[in-house]
């Protein structure tokens, strides 16, 4: 979605994450298809990604919800929904709960390119249960990105 040379992408500092910004995260159907309410946000939407030692999200400064869903192997709402988390609310959770979380811009400069890629770092074995619960409270389905259950 960006015409610039990816090698010119800088890692942006924390202060560039404005309170009005959002993070987007795709949530696969196996994480929601069996639960009683599809409109609800559950804690398991925020389990750690194994390979990158952090919670992977897309930053709204460089991404749209469409970009995030289209980055999935199956970009369909019956397979992936997109949740959004307000950056200002994350900062409040970090401050009020004294969680050692940091927001780190982490653009991916190799295919598949993703200038929006950001990590919530500091999620550890000690605090991950608490953090998942807190994130589930402040996240919402992005507009028009709530998943659709397949009719059996």
């Amino acid at each position: 979605m960006d015409e610039e040379d990816p090698l010119s992408w800088n890692i942006e500092p924390y202060e560039n994450f404005l309170n009005s910004h959002f993070f987007y995260r795709a949530v696969h159907k196996f994480l929601w298809k069996n639960w009683p309410r599809t409109d609800k946000i559950y804690s398991n939407f925020f389990s750690l990604d194994q390979a990158i030692n952090g919670l992977s999200v897309d930053w709204s400064k460089y991404a749209t919800t469409e970009f995030t869903v289209n980055s999935r192997p199956v970009p369909k709402l019956y397979v992936n929904g997109i949740v959004k988390i307000n950056v200002g609310k994350i900062k409040i959770v970090i401050e009020e709960k004294i969680l050692p979380i940091s927001i780190k811009h982490d653009p991916i400069k190799e295919p598949p390119l993703n200038r929006a890629h950001t990590l919530l770092e500091g999620i550890s074995k000690i605090n991950k249960a608490k953090l998942k619960l807190k994130l589930s409270k402040i996240a919402q389905w992005a507009p028009n990105m709530m998943p659709i259950k397949e009719q059996v």
């Binding site: 696969h28 196996f30 639960w35 398991n44 194994q50 074995k125 249960a129």
Partner: protein, 218 residues
């Protein structure tokens, strides 16, 4: 005890439910259930079978109880007795139903089920999670705590979350896919920060910690 119920021994029928969950899931720790069909007009003899705990009762033991009772009944007049603390069959049925729904199409998924590197959701880790959940619920229900059935949620890293979200409290238990790793527990009672629970603990100790915390806050 809160769960006292009068039944007719003649009408007891002990059985094990056949595979209460999907065929992929074993029924470890699944209790025997008791069917009964009350017959009116018979004299009641109160015999307390105190301390029957679902996880400990088995068909042999229960047959022994019946054997012991029957000779004293002479001609068979004495048929009734009281069982305490063993009547949450409806809850057990509901638990089986919900676990079956939660697991359907998810338990048994291999690695990379989302095409982005997720970990397998194994039958073994499901069995661990649901065995712990059953132990917690049996303890609470047996002791008269009317706790709802939580969600059992898979994670992208192969772990399971057991998640209660009620008006009174929230509790999340993250169970590792390997049993030798620690269970993560975080709980809050609504409006009472002094009851916050945040621990990492061995699987074998988790049930005790969770059940005691819930008894304390409820």
């Amino acid at each position: 005890m809160n769960n006292k119920k009068e039944i007719d021994a003649r009408d007891l029928e002990i059985y094990k439910e056949e595979k209460p969950l999907s065929s992929k899931i074993d029924d470890i720790a699944h209790p025997l259930l008791i069917k009964y069909y009350p017959v009116k007009g018979h004299r009641n003899i109160d015999i307390n079978l105190v301390g029957l705990y679902p996880k400990n009762i088995d068909e042999l033991r229960f047959s022994q109880y019946l054997y012991e009772i029957s000779p004293s009944s002479g001609t068979g007049e004495i048929k009734e007795f009281i069982v305490e603390g063993f009547f949450f069959k409806e809850k057990l049925t509901e638990l089986d139903k919900k676990l079956r729904e939660y697991s359907e199409g998810i338990v048994g998924l291999g690695d990379n089920w989302d095409g982005k590197g997720t970990k397998a959701i194994t039958i073994e880790s499901w069995n661990d999670a649901t065995a712990l959940l059953r132990e917690i619920l049996y303890d609470l229900w047996y002791n008269g705590f009317n706790v709802s059935i939580p969600l059992v949620l898979p994670n992208t890293d192969g772990n399971f979350d057991i998640n209660w979200e009620t008006e009174e409290f929230e509790l999340i238990i993250t169970l590792p896919s390997k049993r030798n790793e620690l269970v993560h527990i975080y709980g809050e009672r609504s409006g009472r920060s002094e009851y916050e629970l945040e621990v990492r603990i061995n699987f074998e100790l988790a049930k005790g910690v969770i059940a005691e915390w819930m008894k304390k806050i409820l």
